[in-house]
């Protein structure tokens, strides 16, 4: 085995080795550290380091993309050989476009990858041990997970791109359970995103879980039906991510999504939400900063390998209630005669006039349900973006502005796009975290709490 190479060397060696017309090389150095617990004890844990190299070769209008775990010259040469061969054997790509060029190199291109390791929990871990003891003493049981990742991406191309981005991603989640004297189980959840765990306090999480579990002192069983429902920021994030992921321009153009104007066309320019609603992405948005350039290892409906390195900026998807953009590659933008608006790895929902906190929305509610988070969201009908899913780990009854007890869980059937038209109250936008999608796919969201007057709880779930 030869000596491991630096990421920049992997990029340069790959570009030098390729005999294709053009070549894009993406190197990702990824480290992560996690702790997982259940029943008030640690269960699993780990630290990982991986280096993946993607070589995209271009021969005429054809492409070949090969990704592998590579750290040595021999490994990267093998990837290049395979990618070049794949491009030579491929038929012309439909998304063919000139490769991106003339983007200034990242000033930190020469820097080494930034890693994480188990020491990111040097403060959190002892506090977690103490939280287990506090929970034990309070007859509460904790289950949870913390994960911290650092991914340093290097993107180089034969057209001169040399781009680097460091992405910290962290999140925490803790579920607490109690069994009441009546034998009933209560469940509560607290979770969120973080960049470095300096702002995450295990004892504070335990305390908040305990506060929510205490809301279960009174149990109210309610039937299925339509309820005045308060969606906290985390539940709004659950739903908005689905609305975002479904916003592919090509699918819309071809009549297959909620953003379609049938038989052919999109609803861009149409008012699809209440006035004052803004849904946007911005790579510079604090604390949700993300890669300011496109990285695509393969082509699909919403990505194109030809677009690698395309600069990203703020993109309004919905502005003042009007659909203004859909997820576009340069190929789909040409097809739909619309601006190029590639996907960005964060999402913000703002509502004009949204003020106060979740607690203020609760205080302003005469009678309704306060949810914690949503689970198992799946698309039922793409035409309306009807989703089904369930409430989870805390549904509370609000009466006269106060939480007065806990309620059974529900299955719901609703469209997130429709909710943006129907909600009646919104809080300020705050950093949020989708319980459904945040762990594995999309953790950078900021959303308000929303109150929806007629949320469709389709049936009762016995789950706790």
């Amino acid at each position: 085995m030869s000596t491991p190479l630096h990421p920049q060397s992997l990029v340069e060696q790959a570009l030098a080795a390729s005999v294709a017309d053009d070549c894009v090389v993406i190197v990702r150095d990824h480290t992560s550290a996690n702790l997982r617990w259940a029943n008030n004890t640690l269960t699993t844990n780990g630290v990982m380091h991986g280096v993946s190299v993607t070589v995209v070769s271009f021969v005429g209008a054809a492409t070949g993309s090969v990704t592998g775990s590579a750290t040595t010259q021999a490994q990267v040469t093998a990837l290049v050989t395979a990618a070049d061969a794949a491009a030579r054997a491929a038929s012309p790509a439909e998304d063919v476009n000139p490769l991106v060029r003339d983007v200034p190199a990242s000033t930190d291109w020469d820097d080494a990858p930034e890693p994480t390791d188990i020491h990111v929990y040097d403060v959190f871990a002892p506090a977690l041990g103490e939280a287990f003891r506090v929970a034990d003493a309070g007859r509460r049981v904790l289950y949870g997970f913390v994960n911290h990742e650092m991914t340093t991406t290097y993107l180089g191309s034969s057209t001169g791109l040399r781009l680097r981005h460091v992405q910290p991603t962290g999140h925490y989640g803790c579920t607490g359970k109690t069994t009441t004297p009546e034998g009933r189980t209560e469940s509560a959840w607290v979770g969120g995103a973080t960049r470095d765990f300096t702002d995450v306090d295990a004892l504070a999480i335990e305390s908040e879980v305990a506060r929510r579990l205490a809301w279960g002192h009174r149990r109210v069983d309610l039937p299925a039906g339509r309820y005045d429902t308060i969606l906290p920021p985390t539940a709004v994030a659950d739903l908005m991510i689905d609305a975002y992921w479904s916003a592919g321009a090509r699918d819309a153009w071809e009549g297959q999504s909620v953003y379609s104007r049938r038989p052919t066309g999109t609803r861009i320019g149409e008012t699809i939400a209440r006035r004052g609603v803004h849904l946007y992405s911005d790579p510079a948005h604090d604390p949700l900063r993300c890669a300011p350039f496109t990285v695509a290892t393969s082509s699909g409906n919403t990505s194109s390998v030809f677009d690698n390195g395309l600069p990203l900026g703020r993109t309004d998807w919905i502005r003042d209630g009007e659909l203004t953009s859909l997820l576009q590659t340069r190929h789909s933008a040409a097809m739909t005669s619309q601006p190029v608006t590639p996907a960005v790895d964060n999402l913000v929902l703002d509502v004009d006039g949204g003020r106060g906190s979740l607690a203020d929305v609760v205080a302003g509610t005469e009678r309704g349900l306060l949810l914690t988070c949503l689970w198992y969201l799946r698309e039922v009908d793409p035409q309306s973006l009807l989703l089904t899913g369930l409430t989870r780990d805390g549904v509370y009854l609000v009466e006269d502005g106060e939480v007065t007890g806990s309620v059974n869980n529900f299955r719901f059937n609703e469209s997130p796009v429709d909710l943006l038209r129907r909600f009646t109250h919104a809080s300020e936008t705050v950093p949020s975290f989708s319980r459904e999608w945040g762990d594995d796919y999309f953790s950078r969201t900021a959303t308000p709490a929303l109150r929806v007057p007629d949320f469709n709880m389709s049936s009762v779930s016995q789950a706790v």
């Binding site: 280096v51 750290t71 038929s91 188990i118 009549g255 198992y376 039922v380 369930l390 594995d440 789950a463």
Partner: protein, 513 residues
Amino acid sequence: MSGLDPTFADLPHRALGDAALTRARELGVTHADFRLERVRYQDLSVRDGVLQGASDAEDLGFAVRVIHRGSWGFAAGVVLTTDEAVRVAETAVAVANVAATMTSRPVEIADEPVYDDVTWVSAYDVNPLDVPVAEKAALLIDWTERLRAGAAVDHATAFVQQVQENKYYADLAGTRTTQQRVRLMPGFEAMGAGADTFDSMASIAPPAGRGWEYVVGSRDRGAWDWDAEIAEVPELLAEKLKAPSVEAGTYDLVIHPSNLWLTIHESIGHATELDRALGYEANYAGTSFATTDKLNHLQYGTPVMNVTGDRTVDHGLATIGYDDEGVQTQNWDIIKDGVLVGYQLDRPMGVMLPQLNPGPDGRGRSNGCAYADSSGHIPIQRMANVSLQPDPSTDAPGTADLIGRVERGLYVVGDKSWSIDMQRFNFQFTGQRFFTIKDGELVGQVRDVAYQATTTDFWNSMEAVGGEDTWVLGGAFNCGKAQPGQVAAVSHGCPTSLFRDVRILNTLEEGGN
């Protein structure tokens, strides 16, 4: 049958494993295991006669897992040198030291016999990754062009995902296993628009632990009849686009295996994972209503319901010779005559509840359900191939017989949307094709259908299962579980089955305001 891929066999797995395990032993661990894994993926997608995407990926690395001071420690790396193997082993021990401060119950694992240097390769003829990409792309392009010839089809897509998985496992007890398996998931979908609607119709072909012969081979070698399905789908889509919207209410359902496999996966497969029942997934995927206090007396379903866990059946997506903890794989009963009798276990769980799978000495034994989807992830308890058995009698009903028993109902074919709660009580599924049954006959499709039920209500409404002739091994390619998230492929066999009085929703009405 293929042999072990020489490009994997030539990797320095023995040297790396020995270096890591030796270092772990020096540091005083009570258990250590080492995995070197290489997983190769290839995805192709075609849209309207044009290759849209083709990508190859390979995940190669190794992991060391230890039990030290009563705690787990895990670390993974990708630099294939003995120095790095030693460093990763030391990191795993260091992680265990951190974990020890938060571990209140020392980790134990069930015993398992030693398998010294065994090799296992799954049952397939042609590794799909050895077939030229151009040949596969041309086939998918042809599929979409044939689909688009249908008058109702506006757009068509086709895809194939292929995986070759190689694993080398070694532990301090002396087990060394080297394994290889392939799997693939081909499929297609046709889309069309009606007067005021858009809809689609997808293939009902299951993913399979087979080679490329599944796509181009003969039926008697297990190939799917792609030509027949491509020929019928445009007409089925045309009928669906004109079909009336279903009237919500209660119906009898005859469910084809292409839909029922997914209901089994969600409401039985996940519900009988012991880690869920014990709370280990409580913060993520959830727990289970099927807790161990219900063992041997929970009436899960009617007496015609017999469900097995099996990691040995040929072509199963969860089939392998030895699991990721060095346990020889097995098959066993999960539900017998409608009663819950078993769970899916790994080695830590085998020792917790020895009565579930007693070993020769009375201590519990794992039934071989540990799996990690890459070297970067720790093995966790994952699903075996969980299958509903057919009616074994000589006069077992066929699909037409089951439909013939229904006065007012629906025949459900193909899976689509799925969702179930975090204890596996309340579920909702849609499908590809819903045919109205009237007086024992199919009388055309209806649209906008979802069925919703509670698990035990649903399985206790199952009146009959079809015979062996109706049994199909379906499955999923990417079942998600655990934190950090992992994906696993798993098969579920089942016969066509008859259920009485199931709640049917009209999805248009559900979305109405």
